[in-house]
């Protein structure tokens, strides 16, 4: 299909706050992005012309923000609402191989939903990973460098070379990727074997490093992972905030033609236009 026919659902509820720049990123790459409130997908308080169906979209995106205030736990409330009201639609969407992207709060929601890491099934009954409080105990907004660690499974990073380093800022308090202690090694090995690790935090020399290069203390420096099929992807840093060269932290020192984050959007659109 043509890129302008690719319909992207940018899902929001109260507290979502990165929907404008995220839909802008898809629009800049030529796709047709629409901001859709969860109630429009559920048909609550909507007029017929306002009701939407998930199946009508090619890509689902859960943007950053503080859905429902991140009270209880980051992402927990929206995940619970989605799981209770639209689990079947979502599982079907993923099983059809359609891409799902979660950025920051969206990543937290995908983990809470159990679609990430998504090792054994499309959606696990309980979360099998967690994005916990940053080691610093504080919200951290800072530019970070990410190494593409994926060998080709993830459909969101095909435009990047393996080992390529990109810049994207983080802005979160709960972004420390963790696995259950008693299964940590086993699950991490599985993620590696399945090629599910996508981005890792590195320093200016491209080496895995501690704080502040790794802003939250994530296990194995993990900044983003995909499911075992490669079509569901979540990352804590914000690629939509480095779509343009002039959004990068140090652009006045070295102006790139494009921002590094653009590759994420171009990769998935390339995949969709070829596949569907």
């Amino acid at each position: 299909m043509k890129v302008e026919d690719v319909k992207v659902c940018i899902l929001i509820i109260e507290g979502t706050n990165c929907e404008a720049e995220t839909s802008q990123a898809f629009r800049r790459s030529g796709a047709s992005a629409e901001i859709v409130h969860l109630k429009q997908l559920l048909g609550q308080d909507t007029k017929p012309e306002e009701t939407r169906k998930l199946e009508d979209y090619e890509i689902l995106v859960i943007p950053g923000g503080f859905s429902s205030g991140d009270y209880v736990r980051a992402g927990a409330i929206l995940a619970a609402r989605m799981k209770s009201r639209m689990e079947d639609e979502l599982v079907q969407f993923i099983d059809e191989g359609k891409p799902v992207l979660g950025i920051c709060n969206g990543f937290q929601i995908l983990v809470e939903l159990g679609v990430l890491p998504g090792i054994e099934s499309t959606m696990s009954r309980y979360p099998t990973a967690s994005l916990g409080w940053n080691d610093s105990g504080r919200f951290e907004c800072r530019p970070t460098l990410l190494e593409n660690w994926n060998k080709g499974k993830c459909i969101f990073t095909t435009k990047l070379e393996r080992g390529q380093i990109i810049q994207a800022p983080t802005a979160h308090a709960e972004g420390k990727f963790m696995l259950p202690k008693h299964r940590e090694k086993e699950l991490l090995d599985t993620l590696k074997d399945n090629d599910q690790i996508v981005f890792r935090y590195v320093d200016a020399e491209g080496q895995i490093a501690g704080y502040p290069w790794n802003p939250n203390g994530s296990l194995f420096g993990i900044a983003g992972i995909c499911n075992s099929e490669g079509n569901v992807f979540g990352m804590m840093p914000h690629p939509e905030r480095t779509y343009l060269g002039i959004q990068q932290a140090d652009w006045t020192r070295n102006v790139p033609d494009n921002g590094d984050g653009k590759a994420v959007f171009e990769s998935v659109l390339d995949h969709v236009t070829k596949k569907f």
Binding site: I13, E14, G15, T16, N17, C18, A20, E21, Q24, A25, H37, K39, Q40, D45, T46, K47, E50, G64, G65, F66, S68, G69, D70, Y71, S136, G137, R138, F139, E140, C141, R142, P143, L145, Q167, P169, A171, D203, A204, Y211, P212, W213, H238, E240, R241, Y243, I246, Q247, A249, D250, W251, T252, R253, V255
Partner: protein, 774 residues
């Protein structure tokens, strides 16, 4: 004509004596003085009836210093509001100024001092909430938040803390957390600000919050009703007992035992997750053309918003108070009427559009309730369950008093002998000490806690430089619209140590600094707004400081043709231990023709020449150097407005013609600190030689904070062009980007510091007090 409710309480005022009236004002928390009470008495004698308790509360709100600027208006009119330019589109809750053919930007700054001194987290959070609404109600999308903060010294000994005063570290931690948790949640980036520490803020911190927004011109709304059939729709949060008497308490001095009263309800409770969809939904309603007018509920709550919107439209209003959605049962009608509960907006909507508005808000899960309507008569009438509880003539109600209170101006500072410390033995140590002083040291601890990039439009960020080394910049730049590379440069400035010595020059310097910050990144100053934080205006010396400050700001702003389409005054910032130093906070917005030509403060390339623009004078009064090393001078930096104007044009052009690689304004700590910060951000050294500059002592050359100065790193090969552009302002080549240390030489002395040592001294200070790793 409805009868007054039989359950309403009438207050005996007609025959009250002077003493009775003073008591009445105190007990009711009205904060009205005797003369004002007499005016009220006269009004009711004319009406031939007693006032209801709701009416008296309403008048107390409407006539508070906070709401009607009764002590300041006379000076604001004379010096600030008189500056007018065709670019100003609207002066409302926020000022609205031309951006491009189809768009305008909105700006405003205000204080949340007293609530933050009592409950720092909630006080600061609701400060953000309030300033966002001021911009939103003009029909503008908020795009940037700016937070200048002022506290007592972080190392103040706990055992010397006056009773009832909270420690500066606790206040600092709480205020930053409040701004963080509210600002980050609603998704508006906090891009700029300042943190200043000074003994004078010990009992009364100064917390100012600014906001800039962008609007399509067709969506700009007045804070007014439009027709005599408009319906008032209250949207957003529910109304509760929080925030009762906020404005009247803000209009008196802070006392120890007032804390309990504040905690009992005067500080509002913020709810960013009601606010976030409220912003979207109000803007979408404006975009769809559903609104006739909009205004936020801030100080005074419903009692202020209804009257002001009706009066501004030339009509009156009738409100059915029982329709107001409540947080809890049992509120008295007067409490509903004046509550300052957060996250509420008032919409004026044409009757045929009410259903569309209600549906839109329901879809986004935001509460919306029609609570009243416009009436032709210029009165405000409030009904509760069908019975009248308030009826006031709008002209009386909203015509708050205006005073020309007595003021004095103390010029003794001019006679005080100068006490300048001896020249340092080791200038390197002096620089290290200065750069680690809390007022100059890294504010990364604060900046990283704020999301300064949400919306993806922050092109020039608050920390600038090589990754891992970024240092303070001068201004942030926002690219607010997708279709254009035009930008808005945003900066803020205040210098209380100047102002406490010489308020006139302090006011002038704040405008100078904010303008040079904007020019340094490649913007041209376009408009200003200010928040003027002072002590009790009923004390003539405090009011004298205020008048001198306003005169200083006005003097520079009018010469530059910079309008101040909005502003805020915060008086009564004092306790029994004294008043805060005069704190005029100026927020400036500049236009950037093309954000791709913006520059930052970090040094870029070895061997590029470094120039000083502007003259360094022996003006050490109020300098960080004297504050840290002791001493006194009455000579605060002056402003030559003609030179400032020429220099702004020159720097703006030199940046936009891309002759400058990096630029930094010279302020706290002088040239020595400016070059150090530039080197830190670029992770590269510099050598500068001051021996050919003015004939003043080395300490003055290095640390003077004279206005209208910048350091500029010029691209090799573009020197001639640069010199050509800046030919009519003083400019001198000082040295070049070189090596891995900062070296500053004068005739017989030299300072030389390795970047690592400089970095360590600069970045640790605040973290050492507040915890965490830089």
């Amino acid at each position: 004509m409805e009868e007054f409710s039989s359950e309403i309480r009438f207050v005996s005022l007609l025959d009250a004596s002077d003493d009775d009236m003073v008591l009445l004002s105190d007990e009711g928390g009205l904060a009205l003085d005797l003369a004002e009470m007499k005016r009220v008495q006269e009004y009711y004698r004319g009406k031939g009836r007693e006032p209801t308790d709701v009416e008296l509360q309403s008048i107390g709100q409407a006539w508070s210093e906070h709401c009607c600027y009764k002590s300041s208006k006379v000076f604001l009119k004379e010096y600030l509001m008189s500056i007018d330019t065709p670019s100003v589109i609207l002066r409302g809750d926020a000022g609205v100024v031309d951006f491009d053919e189809d768009h305008a930007y909105a700006l405003r700054i205000e204080s949340h001092n007293h609530p933050s001194a009592v409950e720092p987290y909630g006080g600061a959070a609701t400060g953000i909430g309030g300033i966002i609404r001021d911009v939103l109600c003009m029909g503008a999308q908020p795009v940037a938040l700016i937070d200048p903060l002022h506290f007592g010294p972080l190392d103040f000994p706990h055992d010397k803390l006056p009773k009832g005063v909270k420690h500066p570290r606790y206040l600092f931690e709480g205020v930053v957390a409040g701004i963080r948790d509210y600002g980050n949640r609603i998704g508006i980036p906090t891009v700029s600000g300042s943190v200043h520490f000074h003994d004078g803020y010990l009992g009364n911190c100064i917390i100012n919050v600014g906001c800039v927004g962008i609007a399509k011109k067709k969506n700009i709304l007045k804070n007014a009703v439009k027709t005599d059939s408009d319906v008032f729709i209250l949207v957003g949060g529910r109304t509760g007992r929080d925030g009762i008497h906020g404005v009247t308490y803000a209009s008196v001095e802070l006392t120890e035992d007032m804390e309990e009263e504040w905690m009992g309800g005067a500080v509002q409770l913020g709810d960013p997750i009601t606010k976030e969809p409220l912003i979207h939904t109000c803007l979408e309603a404006a975009e769809r053309g559903l609104l006739n007018g909009m205004k936020d509920l801030g100080g005074g709550g419903l009692s202020c918003v209804v009257g002001e919107m009706a009066l501004a439209g030339g009509f009156g209003a009738e409100v059915n108070l029982e329709k107001v959605p409540l947080k809890e049962e049992g509120l008295q009608p007067w409490e509903m009427w004046i509550s300052e509960s957060q996250e509420r907006m008032m919409l004026a909507v044409a009757p045929e559009k009410v259903d569309d508005v209600l549906h839109l808000f329901k879809l986004y899960d935001v509460l919306a309730t029609p609570i009243g309507r416009v009436i032709k008569d210029r009165i405000v009438r409030v009904l509760y369950e069908g019975k009248k509880i308030l009826e006031l003539d709008l002209d009386f109600y909203t015509a708050g008093p205006e005073y020309c209170r007595e003021y004095t101006h103390d010029t003794r500072y001019l006679e005080e002998p100068e006490a300048i410390p001896d020249e340092p033995e080791d200038y390197s140590k002096t620089i290290l000490k200065l750069i680690s002083s809390p007022n100059i040291a890294s504010k990364a601890w604060v900046i990283h806690q704020y999301d300064h990039e949400v919306r993806g439009a922050t092109v020039v960020k608050p920390l600038q430089g090589k990754m891992g080394y970024a240092c303070h910049g001068d201004a942030a730049v926002i690219k607010p619209l997708e279709h254009t590379f035009r930008g808005l440069a945003v900066a803020t400035a205040t210098n209380p140590t100047f102002s406490e010595i010489d308020p006139f020059r302090g006011g002038m310097s704040a405008v100078d600094e904010v303008c040079r910050n904007i020019a340094a990144v490649g913007g041209f100053p376009d408009s200003l707004t200010n928040c003027l934080n002072f002590g009790n205006p009923e004390k003539p010396d405090r009011l004298g400081l205020f008048r001198e400050t306003v005169r200083g700001i006005g003097h520079v702003a009018s010469h530059l043709g910079l309008p101040l389409p909005s502003g805020n005054v915060s008086f009564y910032n004092e306790t029994e231990h004294g008043h805060v130093p005069p704190t005029p906070v100026v927020l400036g917005v500049g236009k950037v023709p093309d954000v791709r030509r913006c520059i930052t403060s970090d040094l870029k390339e070895q061997d590029n020449p470094i120039f000083l623009i502007g003259d360094t004078k022996n003006e050490m009064g109020g300098s960080e150097y004297l504050r840290v090393f002791g001493g006194h001078s009455g000579t605060v930096p002056n402003v030559n407005v003609g030179m400032l104007k020429k220099s702004l044009h020159a720097v703006f052009r030199a940046v936009n013609e891309q002759t400058i690689a990096s630029c930094h304004d010279i302020s706290h700590g002088g040239i020595a600190i400016a070059i150090s910060e530039m080197a830190l951000g670029g992770d590269v050294g510099a050598f500068i030689d001051l021996s050919k500059t003015e004939r003043v002592p080395t300490s003055v050359k290095m640390f003077s904070e004279s206005n209208t100065r910048w350091l500029a790193e010029v691209w090799r090969g573009k020197e001639d062009r640069f010199l050509d552009i800046v030919s009519d302002v003083p400019v001198r080549k000082l040295g070049m980007v070189k090596g891995s240390s900062v070296i500053i030489a004068d005739s017989n002395v030299k300072a030389g510091i390795f970047l690592e040592d400089l970095s360590e001294a600069w970045k640790r200070t605040i973290y050492d007090y507040m915890g965490g790793t830089p």
